[in-house]
């Protein structure tokens, strides 16, 4: 068979294999993305065409106080979750990796279990546990603060509690990534460090931490993106209240699109959130890489 013929056949096979995926990507991802961008420059309702209004939606957004509250709440939530969940995952992973064999598998499963639950179940469980009247965690809160607190109806408590629920729910996955990272560090290095006179703390700080850094950076970045997209937990636990103290960008987008029928404006909100996520995560990843190189 000639080279040209063989190459043509290879190309055909490649096209056949990639085709279905490209098709689905075009229909369900690229086209909607294009539509969102286009919609954000119109005054269209959720369904149907609208008039081209240029940057009016974006201009309106810049004067929308609720939008700034939402953005603020988003970053507050990121602060409450991203670093804490990474630190907790690292601590759990370090502890679990000290265990051996089946015991390790068992404990790892226990930590991973919440991750397989759907968000509706997670929020239901925590809503019950934190219920103002009969929640089993209220005595604990009472012991600390002196009185029961309706946590999802209290502006100071609501974001931290949603953060707790989110960390409990998603931490297992981070633990898994961290464990995989820890297993990649050869035991030889710890033995060499022990012979070099490193204490347990020095072994962590000079061997584990720098060698685990790529995984830690990955976890931090994934978490940042994930937590900026916060919606379900807020929607199910507090509906953005009280007094908008848990209102986040996706809540606002949802309300504009599906409750107020402002498709164009909602698209503009989505675009801005998208840009924020891209900028912040790229920025963070670069910063982490520089930080990693310096070590």
């Amino acid at each position: 068979m000639s080279t040209a013929k063989r190459r043509r056949r290879e190309l055909r096979n490649a096209a056949l294999m990639v085709g279905p995926f490209v098709l689905i990507l075009l229909i369900f991802f690229l086209y909607p993305t294009y539509k969102v961008i286009a919609l954000s420059f119109t005054d269209a309702p959720l369904i149907g065409e609208g008039e081209w209004i240029g940057l009016a939606n974006y201009a309106k957004l810049l004067n929308d106080k609720l939008f700034y509250t939402s953005i603020w709440n988003n970053f507050y939530f990121v602060l409450l979750t991203v670093i804490p969940t990474t630190v907790i995952a690292l601590l759990i992973a370090l502890a679990v990796s000290k265990l051996k064999g089946r015991m390790q598998a068992l404990i790892l499963t226990l930590f991973f279990l919440p991750y397989v639950l759907p968000v509706s179940v997670v929020t239901l469980i925590w809503a019950w546990m934190l219920d103002f009247q009969f929640g089993i965690l209220q005595p604990l809160i009472e012991a600390v603060t002196g009185k029961s607190v309706p946590v999802f109806k209290n502006p100071h408590w609501v974001m931290p509690m949603i953060a707790v629920v989110t960390i409990w729910w998603t931490n297992g996955f981070n633990v898994l990534l961290m464990i995989a990272g820890l297993r990649n560090i050869p035991t030889d290095l710890y033995e060499a460090a022990a012979l070099d006179g490193a204490t347990a703390w020095q072994r962590f700080w000079r061997v584990t931490w720098p060698l685990l850094w790529p995984v830690t950076a990955l976890v931090l970045t994934l978490q940042l993106i994930l937590q900026l997209k916060l919606f379900d937990q807020v929607y199910l636990l507090s509906k953005g209240g009280p007094f908008n103290s848990s209102y986040v960008v996706l809540m606002q987008m949802y309300r504009e699109a599906f409750q107020l029928n402002n498709g164009g404006y909602a698209s503009a909100i989505a675009m801005v959130l998208f840009l924020i996520i891209v900028i912040v995560s790229v920025l963070q990843f670069q910063l982490l890489r520089i930080g990693g190189r310096r070590k």
């Binding site: 050869p186 033995e191 060499a192 012979l195 070099d196 006179g197 020095q202």
Partner: protein, 361 residues
Amino acid sequence: MSDTGVQLKDVKKSFSVVDVIRGVDMEIKRGQFAVFVGPSGCGKSTLLRMIAGLEDTSAGKILIGDRDVTDVDPADRGVAMVFQSYALYPHLSVFENMAFSLRLAKRPKAEVKEKVHEAAQVLQLTEQLDKKPAQLSGGQRQRVAIGRAIVRAPEVFLFDEPLSNLDAELRVQMRLELARLHLKLGATMIYVTHDQVEAMTLADVIFVLQGGYVQQSGAPLDLYEDPSNRFVAGFIGSPSMNFFNATVVARADGRLTARLDGQPDQSFDIAMTTALEPGTPVTLGIRPEHLVVSEGEGMRVTVDVAEELGGVSYQHGTLEGGEAVIFQQIGARHGMHGTVQTILPQTDRIFVFSREGDRIR
């Protein structure tokens, strides 16, 4: 100060129910180059790791110099180890790798720099100090690992199969460098290998390990010339010794005659101090280099494969009884493939073993 480098007293190690080291006594003098050699699974690496303190000792005592270090932390034993995988810290430069222990001990910067540069000079690594381990060749990484050990100025250097990840040419070169390094530093060194050539060329004293015991220890040529059992006889020397089953047919004053089971018309007259009864089954051991082609009577070997190395050739074949034979010849192109050759051993170079494998002298 005594001249003891490392001393083991009835050291044992078991992993749950498996006994890996079953009672080892040894004494390595200060400044000696000791080699632990044996097949894989013989416990040689475990024994080294016990000396390093990376494995707990189940029973017995380990002494370094005059100190009992059996329960001392690895860092406080005054040992440095070079790992088979090199175990270099991948995120640190060569300089920092070598300076690691000094940094942990919070030594002054000037001292760190001086010691690292000194070691780098010895190992010709001065040019590489700013590189990361990933940018180095295998041999250079090996040298960095050795450099890391040198910087610590330990009483005892431990090497765990340090050359087995290198290619053959580099291995020979590094072997020489290690020998020179030993002369230069004069420190006690313990070296683990499964390669008996490395053991023979490097060691002042070899410990042959098998089954959790030291089978024999001594200077390389002593082990070669006077093995105390069949295992050591077969392990030391390359290619390994030929073994033939034989039966004692007669004995005289200080001599005995043994007949090959595989070729009953051939018997050998061997000088012995032990008197064996006629009819006793024995095993004769003869090294390939002590078998000579003869014109007349002898062992008839059908040669099937020749390994020709240029200077010497190893002829592989079988006796009439089916026992495998290797014999060595000087030069090459003997064209013996497929022929039957008659060979005779030098009779003063025949070793006699009991069928259980013990040497009978």
